[in-house]
Structures are given as C-alpha cells and as structure tokens.
Symmetry: C2
Subunit: 473 residues, 2 copies
C-alpha cells in the first residue's frame, strides 16, 4: 500500500501545481507514447526546480517509495514507465523547461532536463550555432531523456552521441543530494569523470536535472545523394570512399534494404522510386559545410564518380533542390511507419563494427530465412556508425499472432549473430525493461557485476528507477 503520508509530503515538496491528480491527465504519465508499456503509480509529480526534485527524492526515500524519472516519454524500451504495483512515484521533468544560458563564444548551452530537443536546436540556431543531436522524436523528447538514454540518431557519424555532446551535468542522487557538475569546460582533468556514469544510466543512478551541452558552428550548405547498391559490402565500400574524400563534411550515411523502401513506396503518400531498376540496397548520403558556397554537389559527384569507377555504385542521383532532399529523407524516415501496415514489426537496434556489416547481414538474413521462410527483413539504419535497425515482418499471407509468438526466438537469432560479430544488442535505445533480462546473456558477467556494484553504491535501497537496466538476479 501507498504510505498514507506520502501525498502530503509530495505536496509539500512540489506544491499543488506540481502534483497531478486529474485522472484524465494521469494516463499520459503511466504509459509510453506507443502504449507498448504501461503501469500504475502512487503519485505523479512535476517539480518545477532542482530543489523540488531533491525534495521529492528525499520524501520518497524516507517513505521507502521508488522514483521513476520521466522525460518526454518517447523511449522505446519502457525505461520511463512505472511498474504495475502502483507503489512507485513518477517524477516528470516536464516543468523544468528553462534554457538557463547560451554562450555562443564558448559554444555551450545550459538547459534544464525538461527542455524539448527541438527547443534546444532552436535556441542554438537563434545564436548562429548548431546543436546537432537529431532524431525522429525531436519535437517531443526531452534533454533529460536524451541524456539518460545517451541518444543517437542521424548526426552521430560526425557529432557523436549525446554523451559526446555533454560537458557538464546537474544530478539529484538517490539520497536527495544535488551534485552540481554544470561545468562548461572542454578540458578538466581533476579526478573521476562522474557525468559519464549518469549518462546512459536511464535514471537508475539519479535524476538528471540540467546539463551543459556543446554547440557547433551553423551549417550553411548541404548536398544529398541517393545511391543504389548491389550489396551491403558495396555500401560499406561507398562509405569508405566518401569518408576518405569528404572527411568531416560527411554528416549522414543511412542504409536501407529494398524491402524497407518497398514498404514506403507502397504505404507512404507521394513516395516514388528514383530508378528504373530494382536494387537490393540504397544509401542516403549527406554532406554539410559551414561555408555557404562550399561546392558540395560537385564534391559529392566526384565521390560518386570514384564509386562508379570501382563498380561500387549501381546508380545514383544528387538531389536538386530542397523538395527532392525532403523526398529522399522521407523515404528513409517513412520506414518505421510504413512497416506497421504489414503486420507486427519485431524491432531490433544493434551495432557491429562497420567492417563486419556485410558478414553480419549475410549471416543474420540466412538464419532468419531458415527459421521463417518468406520472412520480410526490413534492415535500415546508420551504417556509418555500424548501427542497423533490423526489423522483421511476417511472411505475406501468414498469421500475425503466430509471428508474434516467435518474437523471442527471432530476436535471439538477431542477437546471437550480433554477439558473434562483437556487437551490441542495444545501439541507441537503451535497455529499459525491454532488454533488461536478455542483456545478461550477451554481456560479460564481470561487467554486469561491476555495474551492479555501482548501482548498490549509489542506490543501496534500490529506490531509483528499480527494475530497469540491470537484469534480475
């Protein structure tokens, strides 16, 4: 049962404005945006300041109640959703939306955890700077969630993950104390770097309340190409050619299997095939530059000419104008939605070394087709990072439920193959609840033991987002 004094103590901590009691509003805090995960809660609180976050954590600690930190609720692994007990408190950061400072000279921005990613991009742009993190949910995901899941997306190739973009953090620890590590320094070698423990910890070691993030010079020109390829090996070869020639200008390199593109062509409004022939793979290449007139189209054409010379590319087009650029990105970004029209999607988010991509795709596809003849494999992702979303649809004219029933078996095939190439079974989505237990089969036991000992050090009573990240013993 919920301790009788809890609500009063929480009201004391956050005031009436910070306590969600309207049943119509509660639901949004108890499920993720896809309704893939849901739970119950003893209370939902929305503190308006770091001190209020600390007060909530202390109050819950004294009552022996667990806290579930929550950002924009767009995660894919259930990391921000409470369990079914109704004894946990959801701590939403959605009222902490202040951009505390922008320093264009130091190229930093200081923001609270509840600021929406797109708002950070816009605040940076208003000062002539770029905040490069970019992902599908950027209109609703928050910086606190981006930090807690070490978010990735399409810009990692050049700018790194959220971890790489972070200089400083402010965190409320499980004992309710506030660590002020909000430093805006590029170099600081004065002991252990604590911020990296909290980044990617999915709220299990504390509540991130604010961060100092890196900014970059604004991009003033872009070029985009769509390339047809005969194999995953050709895609990796193309990556090598473009990267060696264009260096840091290469800011996007996304791969899609023909199956992925087929689904978008079938279900996406206005999507159309660019080439007469059908090709097994496609890549979207993006170059960017800070110079307004950087000759990027010509450079991209030169890279593609090398690719044709070496028989790497089968066909290619450099986008002419922003409408075509949008159409190309639409083909890439429409995959996830289009796949929903074809029955259940079994989603995976894996990385292997870039050099292992061809062997990995070949081995994984073969094993999946042996298990389910006719399975439709929707492979796409950030191949420059070695990161593939290896999503599966049932064979045409087969049964949804029967396919769903084999989900664990098919995921095992993908994960076993990933592991055999020294890969990771979660590239950018985290573990949350979804992969909390399966990770035990793929991660070194000693590493898990070290993770557990850190968890026990910071949160000895297991009250900070329990049941996430760490496998049950």
């Amino acid at each position: 049962m919920t301790p009788p004094g809890l609500t009063g103590r929480l009201r004391e901590a956050v005031g009436d404005a910070g306590l969600v009691t309207d049943p119509g509003q509660l639901g949004g805090y108890l499920s993720d945006w896809r309704n893939a995960w849901s739970g119950a809660a003893a209370a939902v609180v929305r503190p308006g300041s770091t001190d209020e976050v600390a007060a909530v954590v202390r109050a819950c600690g004294e009552e022996g109640i667990a806290v579930v930190p929550q950002g924009g609720n767009t995660g894919l692994c259930g990391g921000a959703v409470p369990d079914a007990s109704g004894r946990q408190v959801v701590l939403s950061l959605d009222r902490m939306r202040r951009v505390r400072a922008v320093d264009p000279v130091n190229q930093t921005i200081t923001v609270e955890a509840g600021v929406v990613l797109q708002a950070v991009q816009e605040a940076a742009a208003a000062e002539g700077c770029l905040f490069p993190l970019s992902l599908g949910s950027e209109g609703s995901c928050t910086i606190g969630g981006n930090l807690s899941t070490n978010a990735g997306g399409t810009g990692v190739l050049r700018y790194g993950t959220m971890r790489d973009l972070t200089l400083g953090l402010e965190v409320v620890l499980p004992d309710g104390r506030i660590w002020n590590g909000l430093r805006g320094l590029r170099k600081d070698n004065t002991g252990y770097d604590l911020k990296h423990l909290f980044i990617g910890a999915e709220g299990t070691l504390g509540v991130v309340t604010a961060a100092v993030l890196k900014l970059f010079p604004a991009v003033r020109s872009r070029a985009t190409a769509w390339v047809a390829l005969g194999s995953a090996q050709a895609a990796v070869d193309l990556f090598g050619i473009v990267r060696a020639l264009c260096g840091d200008r290469l800011t996007g390199f996304e791969i899609m299997s023909r199956q992925s593109v087929d689904f978008v062509l079938r279900h996406g409004s206005g999507a159309r095939d660019l080439f007469g022939a059908v090709h097994p793979w496609y890549v979207l290449v993006e170059l960017s530059d800070t110079l307004p007139d950087a000759g990027l189209d010509g450079l991209l054409e030169a890279a593609l000419a090398q690719a044709f010379e070496r028989d790497v590319a089968a066909d290619a087009v450099v986008a002419a104008g922003s409408a075509q650029v949008a159409a190309l990105w639409g083909l890439r970004e429409g995959i996830s939605e289009a796949q929903n029209f074809e029955g259940p999607s079994l989603k995976h988010d894996v990385t292997v070394p870039v050099s292992s991509i061809p062997g990995f795709v070949e081995r994984t596809d073969r094993a999946l087709r042996a298990a389910v003849p006719g399975i439709r494999i929707v492979t796409y992702g950030h191949i420059g990072d070695g990161n593939l979303h290896y999503n599966l649809s049932r064979p045409v004219d087969s049964d949804d439920d029967a396919f769903r029933g084999r989900a664990d078996e098919l995921s095992r095939i993908v994960y076993d193959s990933t592991s055999s190439f020294d890969g990771s079974i979660s590239a950018e989505h985290g573990l949350g609840q979804a992969k909390r237990d399966v990770i035990a089969d793929y991660k070194d036991g000693y590493e898990l033991e070290l993770m557990r000992s850190i968890k026990e050090l910071f949160d000895p009573r297991n009250l900070m987002n329990p049941g996430k990240v760490l496998p049950a013993r």
Copy 2:
C-alpha cells in the same frame, strides 16, 4: 619492510625478463623524466601480457603491497612515480607494445598500453588514417599514460581529448580480475559506461592494459597563419570568426603572450620576429582538410580579411611553405624550454570557458603583478579549448630561491582566479601528487566524496596507486 616472498612471487608472475634488478636501469623507473618527482620501490616489474599484469596485481594484493602503474614516465604531476617508502611495486607497461589490430573500414586501432603515441600515429598513417592525439612528448609517452591522464594537446579543438578518442578498454582491476571492454563500437547503450571511470583516473582504479581507439580520415592539406593581436579579447574574437567560417577545418588555435614569444626569440636558435612592431598577443591558426586541394590558404585569408575589417587583427601572415610552418610551430613549441633560461618556471595548466578568457587574463595578471611587481607572465596555450598554461618567471635581476619560496602563494592567485571564472585547475595534466591536496580547496566537497566512494568500491584496501588524485583526508 618488503615481504620476503614478494620477489619470488613477482618472478613467478612475469619471469626473469619482466623483473628489473639492474641498479643502472632501476633509476629510470623511480623518477619522472624531468626528475621533478622521485621515489623508491620494493621492485620494478615489466609484464609482457595482460595475464602477467593481472598476476602481478594479485601477487601484490596478497602481500598487501601497493602497485604504481607506469607508462612513458612523461607526466608532469608525479602520478606514475612511487612514494619514498620503498614498499611499492612499480608496474611498467613498457613491454606491452603490440598494435593488436588496425581496422581502416571501422576506423579503429586496437593497441596495448605500452605502445608509444607516435607509433599509434604511424600505424594509423600506414593505413591512410589519422590518429589525431598530438603532444610534445609523443615520441616517448604511451597510450596507457595518455588514457590514464586523459591527455589533451593541440588537436583537442577538433578531435577532443583522449577520452573522446576511446571506444573500448581492457583493464586489470585492483582485485586482479580482467575487464574486457575492448569494443570497437560507435554506439552501445547497454548499461553504465565503465570505461570513462578508468580514463583520467591516473591508475588509481586499475591498470589499463589495452584500448580500441578511433581513427579519422587522413589530412591532405593544411594552412597556417600567425596573427598579431592587441588583446586577449581580440584573440577570442578571432577564434569566433575563424570557427564560424571554417567549421571543422579549424584544427589548431594557439595563443601566446608577447612575453612567451620574447623568451623564444631570445633563447630559441633561429627564431625570429615576423612583424616590425611589437604586439601584446599572437595566435597560431591551423586549418586542415581531407581534400588535397582544398583552397585553405584562400579560406584563411578570407577569415583574416574579416578580422581586419572588424579591427580584430593587428597584423597577420599566412605561412608560405613547410619551412615557415615549422618556424611558426617552433615559436609556439619553444616556449617551455626557453623559459627555463630565465630562472625557475612556476607552471599552471588551467581552463576557463572560452568566453571568460579575457576577463580571466586581466584579473589574474593584475593580481600577480600586485603580488610581485615585475613578474614575467608566460601565458600561452590552447585558447580554443579555454586552456592556458599560465607560467610565471621571476622579475629580472631577482632571486631564484626567493621566487621559488612564493610558489604556493602565486599558484593560489592563479587558482583562485580560475575558480572565480568556473574553471578547472588542471586542464590536461591531471592531479597526480602535485595537485592532489590543493584540489580539495577548489572542488565541490560532495563531488570529492563521490570520487572517494568509487575509489573505495574498486580498491577497498587502497593498493592501486595510493596517494595520487584523491586528497589526503
């Protein structure tokens, strides 16, 4: 006293080849290269493999003997030098020099801790890649030391510190167990990121034995300019102009006070002043590109034209040919040595936000001149990272010992000023023994407490490089 069985156990662990007994060789392991720090040791061992490192750590643990990991011994803070007790064991990684793998497609290199930095640069270059870490001691410092001190240098502006260049680690922990975290993945969100605890920990949490490092496309063209400026504010303004225009091409931005340049002109062989007039500040700007014919000279000239238009630059020259480039870098790199001719050098290595550089220099200079009229302030460093080496020489015709006697007082002035601008008192050199105690006055007490609790978790008996990094209680 040294336990009587220790030598036998160590010989068992590393064999005769791994035990240093020749008194003529021992000295080099007991002092740093500058002879600024020295100690004694119960034994010096040079394991040839990760398993041998683990065996040494276990043997020492069972005998209750502390281990001091050591790389190229080029550190500036005494972090790799044993104490005076003669009861510690120096564990040198200098026999672990294998480049285990280079993967130009994945853009990674896997190296053992004892590989010299320059050898990593060369192994990368042999595959058409760049390993961008670059510092004065690159011919003798080792990757293990670079990792343990999170080394910086001149390439941080574009490529980040050693931490940013590391994808995976192999570490022997204080209990002698081996953590194999040698992953070559750009994205891996499967729990706490342990590698960042060991990077920059100066060997106090374990012995780094190998790492997977990031590579980059080879640079094929460069442009270099030398710019005279009227103030530190002008240098920061110039940084903003060049960075906004040139973006990622900006790979070096080094500042020098006139005093710094004066010392090099006086003592450096062949150094000469480039401009007729004397200017208070100089900046060395370097642009790089992966394209062989990238028009960088023209771009640099365009940036400088903007700087002249806005009255930011006083004078400037773009280097013509490699001899002039070498001469310009010689002016920058000759400072430290030249200063030695002018009496004792009191060295500091601090960072503040780039936007705070002008105020910081003004306030620090004023306080130093008030304390020691005529003091010669040799300010230089990586201003694009906010990192200044704020080194001090005594007034002309004053006494060396009297100046040395005021070292702590003058460092306090520099550190107090750094702290008042939210800076760090160690940007890239670490804490070692040198700053182990003074850090307690400048770092948040709660952060130190968290650091101590992590140290106790990993090394409860305090046998792994004790007396370094963490202040005495």
